[in-house]
């Protein structure tokens, strides 16, 4: 695979983090682009975490929690599901490809499924390539404007 990209994974402490651990213990080969942030529950995920991550320069964001009906806090992932689905549908209007964000459910015993999820998602992000930064060009324009101001001021 070509150069690594920056992918951030928000994982639920009870299921998906355990699932990722299981995958590691089972020595399943995985791509290494994903950085994991461990959270108490997928219900903890504010859609703004994902937007902030994408604006901050991540090329992809993966959210993974417990399967519906298996939440450690009974109903956290149900709320998460609604919010994350709304977020996913919101992304295209601001010019971010929907495929850069996915949410899924992986339980602690599903090492194999975790391997599949990470591989699929990483491939998906590599197919999309690096994200275009929102502010990069604007910054360049601002700098250029700043330079035009540095003209000789007659004494």
């Amino acid at each position: 695979m070509d150069k690594e990209l920056r992918i951030v994974g928000f994982l639920c402490n009870w299921c998906s983090y355990g699932g990722a651990d299981t995958a590691g213990v089972g020595r399943f080969i995985q791509p290494t682009d994903l950085r994991i942030i461990r959270l108490p529950c997928s219900g903890r995920i504010d859609p703004l975490f994902v937007l902030k991550t994408l604006i901050g320069g991540a090329d992809g964001v993966l959210v993974s929690g417990c399967h519906p009906r298996d939440c450690h806090y009974s109903e956290g992932n149900y709320y998460a599901r609604r919010r994350l689905e709304v977020l996913k549908r919101f992304l295209p209007v601001i010019g971010i490809d929907q495929g850069r964000f996915e949410y899924t459910w992986v339980s602690a015993s599903e090492g194999q499924r975790w391997q599949h999820v990470v591989t699929t998602f990483t491939n998906q992000i590599h197919a999309l390539g690096p994200i275009q930064r929102i502010g990069k060009d604007a910054q360049a324009r601002a700098c250029a404007f700043g330079r035009t101001l540095e003209v000789d001021i007659p004494a």
């Binding site: 937007l51 519906p68 601001i94 459910w105 275009q132 929102i134």
Partner: protein
């Protein structure tokens, strides 16, 4: 009896039991209306109602301490905000008296300004403005200009389905007939562009944002006020930097916090001093919420907003699709 006279009579009758009634009055010039806060019978004469009364006055309802009894004058779209506030238990129904009005649309002063500019006239020099027979008649620089009201109405009015207040204790005038269908054509046109074009569009728009927070302050659903996360240092969601990321991210906060709550009254866009089409972001969310949960904010007082609830088996979410 004209709507305004009827409204004044209703307010006069209900005023003794209320601490205050919020309505519209004359602003700093003849084209602008301003909120008036009526505390005694003499103030009632300050009331005005015409297509220039654009403000959504329900934004003031959450600003007064509980226990105060407040009356508010609302058009169709404004009444949806009142319903949404009630649904979220941000206001108490017992403390609110709603004076509902029928509405055939409000003027977009941006459009008035552009229409005048086409004739080389300056909106700042308008001496008088009257609405007569579907026309906005302005006296500018010694000339009389008649603008067809349909040309200067706000975009939101063209697709309005709620001309009459959906919730009211008193209703002045006769209900307006007819319902436009909202096909989200503006959104479809925008989404015909590629992702790169959309991002470029927002870059251009957001670069103008001065983070004055007028959009937030005008929004009836933005109830955090001084606790807004955009101004919090801990956690520091948005820095004081003036980069495009910060500006755009602030608007994303605003949009995401209104997902499933925004009643599309357009106050954010009206209040924006640099004319950023902020409603587009909210309309996108509104459309998706409607598709996913069959819910339009502020129309059904008894229903719980969709993002405060869930279903074990969702009807329209295919979460295992990828």
């Amino acid at each position: 009896m004209p709507v305004l006279e009827e409204l004044k009579a209703q307010i006069a009758r209900r005023l003794p039991e209320l601490d205050m009634v919020i309505g519209w009055g004359h602003g700093y010039d003849c084209l602008h209306r301003t909120p008036v806060f009526i505390e005694n019978a003499a103030d009632i004469e300050k009331l005005v109602f015409d297509p220039l009364c654009v403000h959504n006055l329900s934004t003031y309802l959450t600003r007064y301490g509980s226990g105060k009894k407040i009356g508010v004058v609302v058009k169709g779209c404004d009444s949806r905000s009142v319903v949404e506030l009630l649904q979220e238990k941000l206001i108490n129904r017992d403390n609110i008296v709603v004076f509902g009005l029928p509405c055939e649309g409000v003027a977009d002063l941006g459009k008035v300004k552009r229409a005048l500019q086409e004739q080389n006239l300056d909106m700042g020099r308008v001496k008088s403005a009257t609405v007569e027979g579907g026309k906005l008649i302005l006296a500018v620089s010694g000339k009389e200009v008649a603008l067809a009201l349909n040309d200067v109405l706000a975009d939101k009015c063209g697709r309005c389905r709620y001309h009459n207040a959906v919730i009211h204790d008193e209703f002045a005038g006769t209900p307006v007939e007819g319902q436009a269908q909202d096909a989200y054509e503006d959104l479809a046109a925008f989404e015909n562009q590629t992702l790169e074009e959309r991002m470029e569009f927002w870059r251009g728009q957001m670069e103008r944002c001065v983070r004055c927070y007028a959009c937030r302050n005008a929004c009836p659903m933005c109830v955090c006020r001084d606790h807004c996360i955009a101004q919090s240092r801990d956690p520091n969601w948005v820095s004081q930097g003036d980069g495009l990321e910060e500006k755009f991210f602030f608007q994303m906060i605003h949009a995401m916090h209104l997902a499933g709550r925004c009643t599309e009254c357009g106050e954010c866009e009206r209040a924006c001093p640099v004319d950023i089409p902020l409603l587009l972001l909210k309309r996108k969310l509104g459309k998706e919420i409607q598709e996913l949960f069959d819910y339009r904010a502020g129309t059904e007082p008894e229903v719980k907003p969709p993002l405060l609830a869930f279903k074990v088996e969702e009807d329209n979410i295919n979460e295992r699709g990828w």
